[in-house]
């Protein structure tokens, strides 16, 4: 609908007739005050406004209209017979008009203008409606996602708790199976019976290792602090823990000087422990294991990027001369319970490297491996030298 505002009935009448003939819906107001009342009540696609009126003049009406958020988009077309001077026209535009037509006007041209403005208004309105609709949809979707996220967080925490309790409570009966099997074996069995009992005991021991590994995996959900730690000290601790294993396998370790970076020391010790014990475990028969650890800095969190001394990322390389693996299985080795080798060949639970991956990700880093069957493996870990937040984020999967 189009609103015509004029204090003179004859003007209203002639313009109204012109528009009606051209199939427009028309409303009229005989003063500025009257116009404002109507604008607030009804919806108009265009306002044709006389400039000179008693009381509130056209400029004031326009300023009022453009001041309201509800009405600010309605195009205003000024129509004046008296104020045809340039400064009045300018004032018309600055007060919010989209056009200023002086009388006498050409009806055909005026109709074309009206048609254009009314179409523009309708298009703008349509766009605004779509925008509003989209905003509402986004809001609703965001609320939905937040809710789902919250639920996921809760169920994730519950699962971790569950895994912890389950594995913890599994330890107790298992320990007894081992203890009593040993007693039965030592006191009552010989030869064949004792061999079967040995199998029970070694299976139970394997299950215990599995439970312990699961336990440490679920423990990773707590969020301790990052501490600036010298990496060589962490590796030294790891080697002390693995002392017997290293001695048994007659392995040599070559460790370069490494810097201090912000880590959770206990967790990174576990990373080194798992990778180094893997290297010892998967060594080639009749070959003395040799493990090398060295590092560089780089600017990007990337395995391939150039080494740069002042980079914000630290890259650790751990290489061995073991049996290696086919790189097509690269994804598999970091997934829980995936083993590339039969249990008879090499022992292990298949959790070790998934713990490595989880820890590295908690440190906002990445880990990968390069390998060829029969030619050894090099693990590469990229970690930020400085962590942005003091605490590790709880892990959501």
């Amino acid at each position: 609908m189009i609103l015509i505002v004029d204090d003179k009935q004859e003007n209203l009448f002639s313009l109204k007739s012109l528009l009606k003939v051209n199939l427009y819906d028309v409303d009229t107001a005989i003063s500025g005050e009257d116009a404002l009342k109507k604008i607030l009540k009804n919806e108009y696609e265009l306002i044709i406004l006389d400039v000179q009126m008693p009381g509130m003049d056209g400029y004031e009406v326009a300023e009022n209209i453009t001041g309201y958020s509800k009405t600010k988009d309605i195009p205003i077309l000024f129509l004046s017979a008296v104020h045809i001077d340039k400064r009045f026209i300018t004032k018309g535009y600055t007060s919010g008009g989209v056009d200023y037509v002086t009388k006498p006007f050409d009806p055909e041209l005026l109709l074309l203008k009206i048609k254009t403005f009314s179409r523009l208004y309708k298009q703008t309105k349509e766009l605004n409606d779509i925008k509003q609709h989209l905003e509402q949809k986004v809001e609703a979707r965001t609320a939905e996602l937040t809710e789902t996220n919250k639920e996921l967080e809760i169920s994730n925490a519950e699962l971790q708790q569950y895994a912890f309790i389950a594995s913890h409570d599994l330890q107790e009966p298992l320990r007894k199976i081992i203890t009593f099997s040993q007693i039965v074996k030592e006191r009552f069995l010989h030869d064949e019976g004792s061999q079967y009992m040995n199998r029970i005991i070694s299976s139970s021991e394997r299950m215990r290792t599995l439970i312990n590994d699961l336990l440490s995996y679920s423990k990773l959900s707590v969020s301790p602090e990052f501490v600036l730690t010298p990496l060589n000290a962490v590796i030294k601790d790891t080697i002390t823990d693995l002392e017997l294993f290293i001695k048994d396998t007659n392995a040599t370790l070559i460790i370069n000087a490494l810097p201090s970076i912000e880590i959770i020391p206990d967790q990174l010790r576990q990373v080194f422990q798992n990778i180094i014990s893997n290297a010892l475990k998967f060594s080639k028969a009749n070959t003395q294991p040799e493990i090398k650890i060295w590092s560089d800095f780089t600017k990007e969190k990337s395995i391939e990027s150039h080494a740069e001394e002042k980079g914000g990322y630290f890259r650790i390389y751990i290489s061995d001369n073991g049996i290696g693996f086919n790189e097509q299985y690269l994804d598999k080795i970091f997934t829980m319970f995936q083993r590339l080798h039969g249990r008879a060949e090499y022992e292990g639970t298949g959790i070790g490297l998934s713990i490595v991956k989880k820890i590295v990700e908690k440190h906002n880093g990445i880990v990968t491996a390069k390998s060829k069957e029969g030619e050894g493996t090099t693990f590469i870990i990229v970690l930020p030298v400085k962590q942005t937040s003091k605490h590790a984020v709880a892990f959501n999967t």
């Binding site: 330890q171 107790e172 320990r175 203890t179 009593f180 040993q182 007693i183 215990r208």
Partner: protein, 151 residues
Amino acid sequence: MTKNNRFLLVDDDADDVSLFKEVLEEVNPSIDFISASDGQEALNVLRQHQNNSPDIIFLDLNMPRMDGKQCLTEIKKDPALQRIPVIMYTTSCQSKDIEETMLKGAICFITKPSNLKELKSILSSISQNLRGNLEKSLRELSNTTSTFIVC
């Protein structure tokens, strides 16, 4: 006549109590063995026999009525009992349990071994060093066994 040494084991698990008793008898038959099946019973036993206190207490963590942590707190609060050394003896090896009990005054944290030989060497080391440097001997033991021992 010298008084026999006395070990108190506080544990609700009857299997563990009987194994412990069996191994202890084998290690040193002259040691008196007493047991309690939860923290509250342990406190009752300790308070009833104040002039014949045990030389050492082995304390499990998870028990009904009163758990090991609470029992440890009560023992350390009681002037008549606080001097008796307490060793935590449990399935858990969670760092928060270890930290908490060591701070409360336990001298050592031992995870129940599944191997009787290891239990035997632990108990024999403890019985031989009761009057000596118990912590030091246990620390040395922790290097040679696969049992989890923290002192």
